[in-house]
């Protein structure tokens, strides 16, 4: 009995896989889409603030003022894009967006540093990109202050020696955070799209009825329709993890089996959602649009790009219903912190509950729409 059941599911899976690879676009989507997203999130989506354009108006023209500019560019945080003697030029550069930060060093800067009143340096920041502006302003003020202190003869020591240490990501590379996150979004995307398209395609072609008159039970039909795409998603997970480790050299401190278990639990939710989409779509086009409409909030409210802690309380609460949020927390913690079950059991429990719930709900709806 069980063997027959397995044989029927296996047959459907084989048919599905064969159908999948007959379409050359399919295999392209399987490989290229994850690799492309990885490249984008590995390289483009960097929230590190580096090479910020800096416009210099140096009225002082002394060695000390030149050293100040050098100090600003030395760390790689700023790069000088223009110099002038007139403050107007700096304002124009900010207006044009050709620079983000402007610094104006007053005449007699070097001398005034030794005055009892001290010197005044003006820093202008373009706030249109608030994220960059906040960080760049912090860097600029810090560098200016440190330079002023060290350029003085009197040995000034700050009374407090602040020793900073970033745990889990000592160099504060945003890539280490972003790249593991891609695993979750790709797996979700693949499961949603492939499952819903496969079911809807059968409906469009009218072959769903043929499957209905076959000895397959609805449960077997669902298993046969989801297992192949679950395998594709798992395959993508392995590819992404391999590229993350070997190409981007993302540190991996945790244990593989934990990651694998989390992926399996997450897949149940993702495949369940894919089945749900197939029950509300009549054409492949509709299924594609629905997938897109569902992906958008799932991604935005997952902490993938926007930290959950920065959301308003209501939406923070909403993210708890998002399987992607829990999965990403597990993935990132396993990669960067090496966390185990003791720290992550909340997320595992949530994923398991949501996976079973979504899959059961989708199966019951699917059952109805088929009949």
């Amino acid at each position: 009995m069980l063997r027959e059941k397995m044989a029927r599911i296996g047959g459907l899976v084989r048919k599905e896989v064969r159908q999948m690879f007959r379409d050359p676009r399919m295999s392209r989507m399987m490989f290229i889409s994850p690799i492309m997203q990885l490249m984008i999130f590995g390289y483009a989506v960097s929230t590190d603030v580096r090479h910020t354009p800096l416009y210099v108006v140096d009225h002082d023209h002394t060695q000390v003022s030149r050293q100040l500019v050098e100090a600003l560019t030395a760390g790689g945080y700023f790069k000088v894009v223009g110099r002038s003697d007139r403050a107007k030029d700096m304002a124009d550069a900010l207006d044009h967006g050709s620079t983000t930060v402007g610094i104006q060093i007053p005449p007699h800067y070097a001398r005034e540093l030794r005055d009892p009143d001290g010197a005044r340096v003006q820093i202008l920041v373009d706030g249109t990109n608030s994220n960059v502006a906040t960080v760049a302003l912090g860097y600029a003020e810090q560098i200016v202050r440190t330079h002023a202190l060290t350029s003085l003869d009197r040995r000034f020591e700050p009374p407090v020696d602040l020793r900073e240490r970033a745990w889990f990501n000592p160099a504060l590379v945003s890539r280490n955070y972003n790249v593991p996150g891609v695993v979750g979004t790709i797996m979700l995307m693949m499961s949603l799209l492939l499952t819903s398209l496969a079911v809807v395609r059968e409906r469009e072609l009218g072959t769903l009825e043929q499957l209905m008159v076959s000895p397959l039970t609805p449960g077997e039909l669902i298993a046969g329709k989801t297992i192949p795409f679950g395998l594709v998603a798992m395959f993508d997970m392995v590819v992404i993890t391999a590229v993350a480790l070997l190409w981007f050299r993302i540190p991996f401190l945790g244990q593989g089996p934990i990651l694998l278990l989390a992926a399996l639990l997450f897949l149940m939710s993702a495949l369940g959602l894919g089945l749900l989409i197939s029950t509300v779509s009549h054409t492949q086009q509709e299924a594609f649009l629905s997938t897109f409409l569902l992906m958008l909030p799932l991604m935005m409210l997952s902490g993938f790009m926007f930290p959950v802690t920065s959301m308003s309380p209501l939406f923070q609460w909403l993210t708890l219903l998002n399987p992607l949020r829990h999965y990403l927390e597990i993935v990132r913690a396993v990669f960067l912190k090496g966390s185990g079950f003791d720290a992550l059991w909340h997320q595992f429990a949530a994923l398991a509950a949501m996976g079973i719930g979504l899959l059961a709900f989708a199966a019951s709806r699917f059952h109805k729409t088929v009949q």
């Binding site: 629905s290 897109f292 930290p307």
Partner: protein, 376 residues
Amino acid sequence: MAAISRIRLLAVARKEVVQLRRDRRSLILAFLLPVFMLVMFGYAISWDVRDIKMVVVDQDRTVKSRDLVAAFAASGYFEIVDHLPAARNVLPLFDRGTVKLALVIPPGFSRDLGNGISPGAPVQALVDGTDANTATIVLGYTRATVQSWSQRVVLQGRTLTPPITAESRVWYNEELLSRNMIVPGLVATIMMIISALLTSLTIAREWERGTMEQLAATPVSRLEVVLGKLIPYIGIGSIDVAITCLLGVFMFHVPLRGDILLLAVLSFLFLVGAFALGIWISAVVKSQLLATQMAMLVSYLPAFLLSGFMFSIDAMPTPLRILSHLVPARYFLVVTRGIFLKGVGLDVLLWPALSMVLFAVIGLTLAVRAFRKELD
């Protein structure tokens, strides 16, 4: 090519409107997406780091150390959730991700503070670095808080004026709200998404349903078909731009400092280019499903990621920086942010404006050339 007939042009447009009205899901997408994105970015998500959860490990337990902790509590950036006896108790909290920062004040802190020995009294700031972006900002606030506190302590003891005053001023977005950065950028990205998803269907649909033959049998020219199909989409696009701008200004209080007319004209040019690009994709691939996927890849993803909408182009590696010059949304973003936040005019926005014109011309040419009425 024959002159454009108004009757034929409007007939194509009317046909497209009728067809579009039947496509319920696309229409929902067209009008709900801008509202949804605005609400998301306006209310739900932001990059503003506030109320950073922190713990304090105060092993000094003196007036000075308590004063430093009080400075953190009063800064407005931090929320002290707990006091711990030792630094090793911090790790489990970091593991669970409940706390972002730990301030460790070692024993002897206030003694070292007074003795003037280099390098000052040590204080340790431990930060959860997994989210590098948040961590950088957290460290920045920590530095600022410690620095202003230590300056105050120094001033109490000796009469020492800080040798330098950095007069920092933030222009255009004085309060550094990420909302002000996002909303003008949304106008550009939403338009790219909608154009990609809507127009990419239009010609592919004709091929799939076999109505292309009927269209071929009519006397309409290629240019008339492309322009006629564009009209309803431009209409939808203009409404979307208006919705986004109105909600942005009145609900989210994003300043609109520049010329509305200029914004309208440049938005129109951008829309023509974006929709024409969609029609081009649709005409080239001839399958609705493939067209939507292509459109997502060619226009939506670059508009989101390579336009400078959220991620600074200056920080990208050189190949991507060069690539970003090919993304039309990049220029439109300069326009919307320039007009909204900076209040600049055409003199400053001349180059992006010319890029918009170029984009529209290229888009239209591609669309008309790729669209063939001849049947294979």
